[in-house]
Symmetry: C2
Subunit: 460 residues, 2 copies
């Protein structure tokens, strides 16, 4: 099997690969919004058909939510190459505020920028563009060699952006089918534009939505303002009290299980030359918020957080309305590290909120996902093989890094399927994932495909 021929074919077929990605990007598979349920189903069908076109035995699997896509490709007979499971997600974030997009989020286009051409569309980076790097690497490999160098199980979900409610039950019910030697997850980024990265730690995620209710209906703030409790004020007080003056989260026992980073790992991180001034400067900020005694890189890779992702209450339209509202709501998420227990934190958070309710106020909660942090076992030989292969494709060597985001599937692969996961991706900090005008650099797409071809070769 010839790696060079595979890489050449990838280069020659980049326009076709791009057009296939565009087809997938045109499907508005927003998983969190029930109005887009059919689109999620269409995206799953598209992936099944694309895998089948490669000779993969692929099918859609129904869940209580959006479907999973599972495909199998047998490797060369008699090979001792590892059996790989590749994971990506076909669902995307909502697109609001739509008026901040420069174009239709679901009409992808290549735009020339100062940093080269980019693919502009919702999901171009997170995660459709990323997952297609792997499929395109496999397509080129099969075209050149008639097969793949390893047995590969393809596994795509459609609920990653909405808390993956069906993932654990599906993994538990599919242990035998999905178990492999090592998992590959493509949903992370480069360290910088020259150096690729393998993520070895991911933060967990706990989502909570709470609604505080005061009066039984909206009131007139003139007629009732004073004696009637205002749930926006109650909610604001509760949110304001979730952090102390040093930036630490006040939920009781929140820091149980939060480890200090080992000295050798901290030294390695310091050697990466992370430029927090430019990291913040790129989004119009200059001063690190958060825990006062931590560096920004520590905050993102090794410290837990509590953020408010949304708040609403009363009249929020144009103009003014002197309403004293009956309800106020917030969506709050916690990023978790180490062995923080998401379910314990959920209970402690809810108890803290309840303890702060004034008379006449009630609160309801709904949970949106609860996943612990993951730390990868980098002593598995696949890690070093992949790191070497990545280093050959990119100008600078690949680094082992942390990531601030939450990819709970890595923890589930370990806990339920008993396999380690390598998180390798080609996104960039300025991809604007989850924001208007999301993009994926053509270089990320192209070199991402080439990277996977090299990794498949190295792992085989």
């Amino acid at each position: 099997m010839s790696l060079d021929a595979v890489l050449s074919r990838i280069d020659a077929n980049l326009p076709d690969a791009t057009e296939r990605l565009f087809e997938l990007l045109r499907i508005p598979s927003i998983s969190t919004d029930p109005d887009y349920k059919d689109a999620c189903d269409t995206a799953a069908d598209w992936l099944v058909a694309d895998l089948q076109s490669l000779g993969v035995t692929a099918s859609k699997r129904q869940t209580p939510g959006h479907p999973m896509v599972v495909g199998h490709f047998d490797g060369p007979k008699g090979s001792d190459a590892p059996h790989l499971l590749f994971y990506g997600h076909y669902d995307v974030q909502p697109v609001d505020p739509l008026d901040l997009w420069d174009r239709d989020p679901f009409d992808p286009q290549i735009e020339e920028t100062a940093n080269g051409p980019v693919i502009r569309a919702r999901g171009s980076s997170d995660d459709k563009g990323q997952l297609m790097t792997f499929i395109e690497a496999c397509r080129a490999w099969i075209a050149v060699n008639g097969t793949l160098p390893c047995a590969i199980t393809f596994f795509f979900e459609g609920e990653e952006e909405s808390g993956s409610p069906s993932l654990v039950p599906f993994l538990e019910a599919s242990r035998d089918e999905l178990r492999a030697d090592v998992a590959l997850i493509c949903d992370t980024g480069l360290f910088d534009s020259r150096a690729p990265a393998i993520v070895t730690r991911l933060r967990g995620l706990l989502g909570e939505e709470l609604t505080i209710t005061g009066a039984s209906k909206d009131l007139h703030s003139g007629m009732f303002g004073g004696p009637a409790i205002n749930p926006i004020r109650v909610l604001s007080r509760i949110i304001a009290g979730l952090h102390d003056d040093t930036g630490r989260v006040t939920v009781p026992h929140f820091y149980d299980g939060v480890p200090e980073v080992a000295a050798d790992i901290m030294a390695q991180w310091q050697g990466l030359g992370f430029d927090h001034q430019s990291f913040l400067g790129d989004v119009g900020l200059s001063t690190p918020a958060g825990e006062q005694d931590r560096t920004p890189l520590e905050m993102i890779w090794s410290r837990p957080t509590c953020e408010v992702n949304g708040i609403s209450g009363g009249y929020t339209g144009k103009g003014f309305k002197t309403v004293l509202p009956s309800q106020a709501s917030a969506k709050i998420s916690f990023r978790l590290v180490g062995t923080q227990d998401p379910l314990a934190i959920r209970e402690n958070f809810r108890a803290l909120v309840r303890s702060q309710l004034p008379p006449d106020c009630t609160v309801t909660f709904s949970g949106h996902g609860a996943s612990a942090a993951s730390t990868m076992a980098t002593d598995h030989p696949a890690f070093e093989a992949a790191r070497t292969a990545l280093s050959e494709e990119w100008p600078d060597p690949a680094a082992y890094v942390g990531a601030g985001g939450s990819i709970p599937v890595a923890g589930h692969f370990k806990g339920i399927l008993g396999m380690d996961a390598m998180l390798i991706g080609f996104g960039r900090d300025d991809d604007q994932i989850h924001s208007p005008n999301e993009k994926y650099d053509m270089e990320s797409f192209h070199k991402g495909i080439r990277s996977w071809a090299r990794i498949l070769d190295a792992l085989a």
Copy 2:
């Protein structure tokens, strides 16, 4: 001129009067929302036509916002009866949340309730139903007597629910045309179902909208959560800090100009038998919030407040989105009493907010109205004449009361036109003005019309 014949005609023509009110209620004249600009114009046209049908010289007057309606009717020649100016507003509050309405807010209907028939529609009480009580009293008077007992200027605005931005310039430009001996304002309520009221003090209103901006765009709470400032958290802290633990507002100098209620007035209020348990209980509350050392009646009639009328930021749709938003906004209003200076409070509030901004955050403000409180000169003889006339119509005598709401026009009539205002209205506490399912009791409408007929007779 015969009062009895006028009252009889009012009774006989109640169905026709109700149908005229329904016509006006069907016009969705929401002044705060630019989408309803045409409807506001239509409501003004309707009033002009209705006044003209009475023989009133009426016309629509354009403003930078919604039009004013002005009409004149000359009284009997040679009479020494006072020249009256009657004020009402034809605009209404927004109707959201629409799903809490039991019917179309702009399709009025009479509903039978345990307390008798009510007219259900947005604006039925605030203020279309109220202003029509006066027009219908005039209609009956003219039908019976061929004229009115006094010269009357009719003056209706269409921006009362959105801060009345055009009112002061219009009054200043129309001093000569609008000046009268005394103003009548119908935008308040009964004291209870048996006792009418003349409002002698009104709270002022200052509206402020603020938007706090952190990063230049929405961010991913995993990638940036920690080092990036969260404007929802900043806004929540600011709102939480606007009151101290005793319920007092913390804006510097806020209580400058807040008088204690005179002992004789306080004694009179205590004699009214205000039942705050039922006042709060009717809206599902039991414990007075607000300043800890004040009674609910004091809080509403004589104490200033600061309330949050709306808050928004980040993702507020269905499901969850782990966004770290760029912006968060709130609409905040202050009810003012005594000689509190709204413009000084605006500056002090804005300075307080600015002083609490962390690095990298900016704030923008927009003002929505700023009016001082009003206290009426009850020694004007018209007050006692009107109180006697009202007492003859209703089971219990009329009371001089305070009101928590803000009707800045009363202060402007005094300050710009040099005339006192009598605030007489027939709304009830359970009318749900500014809320879903607003209603106006048929008894309020019917006896309201009769009350005005008696007052016209008494003032003449």
